[in-house]
C-alpha cells in the first residue's frame, strides 16, 4: 500500500517537473511548482524527516511561490 502511494507521489513529482519546464505561461508554471513543493513535502514526511517536510512546506510551497508571483506581477506573464 505504502509502496503504491510512493510510486503515485513520484509519478506526480516527475510530471510536475516536466510540466514546469514545458509551460509557457509563467503564472501557471509558478503554481505547478508550488504543487511540486507540496508533493515533495509529503515525500519528506513519508521518508521520516518531518523537519525537512516543515521547511519544504513553509519555504518551498509558501514563501518562494509568493516571491515568484510578485516577480511575475512586476515583469511579464509570458515566456519569450
Amino acid at each position: 500500500m505504502s509502496r503504491a502511494f510512493d510510486l503515485v507521489l513520484y509519478a506526480l513529482l516527475i510530471s510536475c517537473a516536466l510540466m514546469v519546464i514545458r509551460t509557457k505561461d509563467l503564472l501557471a508554471a509558478a503554481i505547478i511548482f508550488t504543487t511540486y513543493s507540496l508533493i515533495m513535502c509529503l515525500v519528506w514526511q513519508l521518508r521520516g524527516s518531518p523537519d525537512v517536510a516543515l521547511t519544504e512546506a513553509a519555504v518551498g510551497a509558501g514563501v518562494t511561490s509568493v516571491l515568484f508571483l510578485i516577480t511575475i506581477s512586476r515583469t511579464t506573464r509570458r515566456e519569450r
Binding site: G62, L67, T71
Partner: protein
C-alpha cells in the same frame, strides 16, 4: 546538427553519473558509511551531550553549529544582496502599484484575519519546542514571515510594515547572526572555544537557555528577513 550535438553531450555526461550511482552502497544496508561513523554516537549520546531531545536539533545547533552559523550568514547576505539590487534599480515613480489588479475578496480577508493568531501561536510553539519535537527556529520563523506576507497582501501593506519601524527592523534582520555571535563568544569565554556548549560541570544548566537563544534568534531573524524581501520586492514597481 545542434540538436544531435546536445544529445551526444547529454549521453556523454550521463555515463559517469550513472557509473557513480551504480557504485553507491545498497540502500538500507547497515554497513553503509552513513551508519557507521558518527551516527551511532549521535543516536546514543545526543540527549546527554547536546541537551536537546530532538536529535536533529542537537546536530544542527550543537554538533554542527558552525554549519548553521554559516547558513544564517548566507541568508542574511541574500537579504543584503536583494536590498542592494532593488536599491540600484528602484524607480521613484510615486506610490507602489498593487500586486493584483483584482481587489481582495472579503472572505479571504476574514479568513486570514481569523486564522492569523493561531498561525502565530503555532509558529511560537514550533520555535520553542524545536529542541524536543520536529521544527525549530527556521521553520517557525518562516511561518511568521509568511504570516506577515499574507497580512500585507489582504490588508494595507503599510499598516503591517508599521509593526516593524525601520530602526527596529535593522536590528532584527541580523538577529540570527547576532544570536550565534553572542552564544559563540559566550562559549569562547566560558567553555574555551567558539560556539562550544558545556558538556559537564557547573555550567551544564546553560545548554537549554543557549539553545533557546539561538532558536529564537534564528526564528526572529528568519521571519524579518523573509518579510523584508517581500516588502522590498513589493515596493519596487
Amino acid at each position: 546538427m545542434r540538436r544531435a550535438f546536445v544529445i551526444a553531450l547529454l549521453v556523454l555526461a550521463s555515463v559517469p553519473l550513472l557509473y557513480g550511482v551504480g557504485q553507491l552502497p545498497p540502500i538500507g544496508s547497515t554497513d553503509n558509511p552513513t551508519y557507521t561513523h558518527v551516527v551511532p554516537r549521535y543516536i546514543q549520546q545526543a540527549e546527554e551531550e547536546a541537551g536537546a531531545e530532538n536529535i536533529v536539533t542537537a546536530i544542527i545547533l550543537n554538533y554542527r553549529g558552525y554549519d548553521t552559523n554559516g547558513e544564517v550568514t548566507v541568508i542574511f547576505t541574500a537579504l543584503v544582496a536583494v536590498l542592494g539590487v532593488l536599491m540600484i534599480t528602484r524607480s521613484d515613480s510615486g506610490p507602489s502599484v498593487p500586486i493584483s489588479p483584482v481587489p481582495v475578496s472579503p472572505v479571504t480577508r476574514f479568513i486570514v484575519r481569523t486564522l492569523s493568531p493561531f498561525i502565530l501561536m503555532f509558529s511560537v510553539y514550533m520555535v520553542l519546542y524545536g529542541h524536543s519535537s520536529p521544527g525549530g527556529g527556521f521553520q517557525g520563523g518562516t511561518i511568521v514571515g509568511a504570516l506577515l506576507i499574507v497580512l500585507s497582501l489582504v490588508t494595507e501593506s503599510a499598516d503591517v510594515q508599521r509593526l516593524l519601524p525601520p530602526a527596529v527592523k535593522v536590528w532584527l534582520q541580523p538577529a540570527a547572526v547576532l544570536a550565534f555571535g553572542v552564544i559563540g563568544i559566550a562559549g569562547l569565554l566560558l567553555v574555551g572555544s567558539y560556539l562550544a556548549f558545556p558538556v559537564e560541570g557547573d555550567l551544564v544548566f546553560l545548554r537549554v537557555p543557549w539553545l533557546t537563544v539561538i532558536e529564537v534568534g534564528i526564528g526572529v531573524g528568519g521571519a524579518v528577513i523573509v518579510a523584508s524581501i517581500f516588502w522590498a520586492m513589493e515596493g519596487s514597481a
